[in-house]
Amino acid sequence: MTIDDTVLDRHGVTREEYQRILEMLGREPSLTELGIFSVMWSEHCSYKSSRVHLKTLPTTGTRVLQGPGENAGAVDIGDGLAAVFKIESHNHPSFIEPYQGAATGVGGIIRDIFTMGARPIALLNSLRFGPLEDPLVRRTFEGVVAGIAGYGNSIGIPTVGGEIGFDESYTGNPLVNVFCLGIARADEIIKGVASGTGNAVYYVGAKTGRDGIHGATMASAEFDEKTEEKRPAVQVGDPFMEKLLLEACLDVIKSDALIGIQDMGAAGLTCSTCEMGSRGGAGIEIDVSLVPQRETGMTPYEIMLSESQERMLLVVKQGRESEVERIFEKWDLHAVRIGQVTTGGRMKVRNRGDLVADIPTTALTDEAPVYRRPMEKPAYLAEAQKLSLAALGAPSSPSEVFARLLATPEIASKRWVYRQYDHMVRTNTLVFPGMGAGVVRVKGTGRALALSVDCNARFVYLDPRAGAQLAVAEASRNVACAGGLPIGATNCLNFANPQRPEIMWQFGQAVEGMGAACRALDLPITGGNVSLYNETDGRGILPTPVLGVVGLIEDATKVVRRVFQSDGDVVILLGENHNELGGSEYLKVMHGLIRGLPPALDLAREAALQRVLVEGAAKGLIRSAHDCAEGGLAVTLAECCFDTDLGAETDVAAVPAEGSFGDIATLFGESASRVVVSVAANRTAELIALASAAGVPATPIGRVGGDRIRMSIAGRRVIDEPLRDAERIWSTAIDRHFEPKRAIA
């Protein structure tokens, strides 16, 4: 086949990129080579639009053992142990086939973790969907949740937390971001490198089929009505195979017989071979005819580009081959030698001996194109940032707003979801989903890790720079609430088409904001993932940079949960209320608006607040802590009561606000850096002293107790609901969408 414009278009390779390929090879590529270039130079694998921006993020710190560039990042958690973690998106596949797309997303991120020699011990997920009123959205939602459950449960890794958001913009572009964390001995972390001429290259795991060919390029293209034709064979996950691979690989890694190991994720065999070679400064030579195949008549092109799941590539130390083979045999897996490490830094692919591709590995990795795409402030911003409350008419009563907000899926209990996730397997989970940041203990140490993934995309839409900072602050505040000192972060940057300058501007601003916030909070980013082209028919998603933060709890017995603990405890608000309704859930739910400016964030104050939380937890002062997020103070106070038998009576000061919106802003405004904590009455002074020493406002606002949720503003009672009634609304709002409507017999 001659390579013409049609062929290039089908591969998503631009004319300029093709010129570079010609120069790098000094000849025309074969079709197999073009395929290899196209997947490695795709947005998904090369980060060509995002790389220049990502370089600005802080990635180092005293605890960082592995920054970006490997399969996952790693931070030191003491006792010679490392927390290895990363987040990955599987948005496009989950839109095409929700169950399998989400399942294979879980499978992929788990491989990234055990590839580093870490035993995965926790999963979280961050999801976005269109409104649940839409039956197709419900089907996607159900499928995604079942897929995450189906894979995570059977492999036996608990899903300990997550978040879910809803907005029209995700209807045709759901987001499925999965975070995984594992524990490794710090000195046993293994990397994805190939080195040592003559060392054998092994393939192990599932056989290769035609699934997902061009998955990486697809993940880098938007959807339109023609996508149907581009549909690759959908990848089907096999968690059973992955469980065997996980155990076998951890055994093999412990045996010290490996030089390097990498999973075959996006761009499959192609990506794993050239990345391992490039990292090790070596060449690699494989023969595709030796690759175990599930289907007949597969071409070298197909074998190299297949994205069949549950496959690993290993480089084995010379002389240790049979030992490695034996370990895999125990798990009924056959490790197959498909090539060896060579000198010369080239990736050579043969088919029954014939050379079918011969490319310098660095041409596919370090020297892949990098774009500094044009950025332009979007036109929508100036208008969207304007908010006139007066124009909205008179607000509804606080109790009506309260009930409406509790019933919105964004705020409502996510029990319907996490009940389907095994969140207890491995018996490490100290804080279950729904109780705040997920917390897992690290057996054999007295420590625990608090984990949270967060992003308020409305804030990012209204001001990408500030919104990204708020996402960093929220995720790390959530782990601090549990008593965790934030020590490392990972991000998943979900945006629309980067070739639109206004999207690229959103991206650039968000990365800048994220970097600034991470620096201020001393939070290195050790890895992450970028998902671009999240748009359908030209309609993009809200910019959604999701942050995953890991917090270290030195004493696992001092973990703090969301809910009030005892009758008579004092309720204290850390932080201050401001007149801030911009981007709030209130505006979205009550007025259908995403408008205004997101809440202001003072990073120094945020850092101080988080220090108070961590210290207050370590001292055993704080009995419960819950961050004020969507729905503001009123919803936060209610959530402190839900799942307990304890109501609360509180009174807060009014914030001065435009017209009749005073109460609304006080109760439902989403000002940043606020946490509701409860403290034993006799230790209140101690906490207040701790807070004021750190310059954090701490205001006693009431008492835990009774069977009602009562809130007053400066002596005026504005909300007074029976706890059980409010809880019923909140706990059934998602279930309601899925109850079978039985036909009348």
């Binding site: 449960n153 492999i155 036996g156 059973f240 469980k243 207890m424 018996t427 989970t429 696992a556």
Partner: protein, 247 residues
């Protein structure tokens, strides 16, 4: 005392059972690979939870053919205490060591949550330390825990007092709303006629420390420790060592 924790390919609560036996109860424990034919002299055998062979086809359907199952059968026949937890229970059903079968949960969904179960019988090695009627708060985590047997089989189970655990309300009442999966007669666990083989869907090994939400499950482990050390409730012949090796 020594526990053998059988590991099938796809078992994933093997470490949890091992941890409960060894680190919480403080007894000896060893993993036994499903291809092994010996139980290595253990006093108690646990078939742990998980997804043996992916739970593809049917839960426990393929695992029952594992070589180790011959040893488990022989051990059970000689009166040795065998506990099947969740997937392990499903394997015992498929292997015919306990009667009945599992259907999908009534909700057709996987469910992970704490439930309450009532101890119906205290003359089994795994309930010997329980109070009669004791209510335990223990988690479930399964998609197929909807126990089924023909009505005459259920009748026989009841008559022989083989229903060991039942789903109940926190107050201990057998109510439909306390039944998480639709199982017949709210059955959460049962034993064989000889009473030495017990299977249950809830996970006692996940409820052995307050830190992880409940310590109510520990009593099952304490029970078997008591039973083995006192030689009680182990079927006809007392305290056989798991030296039986399948041919």
């Amino acid at each position: 005392m020594k526990f053998a924790v059988v590991v099938f390919p796809g078992s994933n609560c093997d470490h949890d059972a091992y941890y409960a036996a060894k680190h919480v109860l403080g007894q000896d424990a060893e993993f036994v690979w499903h291809k092994d034919s010996s139980l290595g002299g253990a006093d108690v055998v646990i078939l742990p939870g998980g997804f043996a062979h992916g739970d593809y086809l049917r839960t426990g359907a393929i695992a029952r053919f594992s070589p180790v199952m011959r040893a488990v059968k022989a051990f059970a026949e000689s009166g040795g205490p065998v506990l099947g937890i969740c997937n392990g229970f499903q394997v015992l059903l498929e292997a015919g060591l306990l009667p009945g079968a599992m259907l999908r949960n009534r909700s057709v969904k996987f469910q992970c949550e704490h439930v309450h179960i009532r101890v119906e019988q205290t003359d089994t090695p795994f309930t010997a330390a329980c109070r009669p009627g004791q209510v335990l708060r223990i988690p479930i985590a399964h998609g197929e825990g909807n126990y089924y047997a023909e009505p005459d089989v259920i009748e026989r189970l009841e008559k022989n007092r083989q229903v060991v655990f039942r789903y109940v309300t926190a107050a201990g009442a057998v109510k439909p709303e306390a039944n998480p999966n639709g199982s017949a007669s709210n059955i959460a666990g049962l034993c064989n006629e000889r009473r030495n083989v017990v299977g249950l869907m809830p996970h006692p090994e996940r409820a052995c420390e307050l830190a992880v939400g409940s310590a109510d499950g520990l009593v099952l482990f304490e029970s078997v420790l008591k039973a083995v050390t006192q030689g009680a409730f182990l079927g006809a012949e007392a305290s056989p060592k798991a030296t039986v090796t399948a041919r």
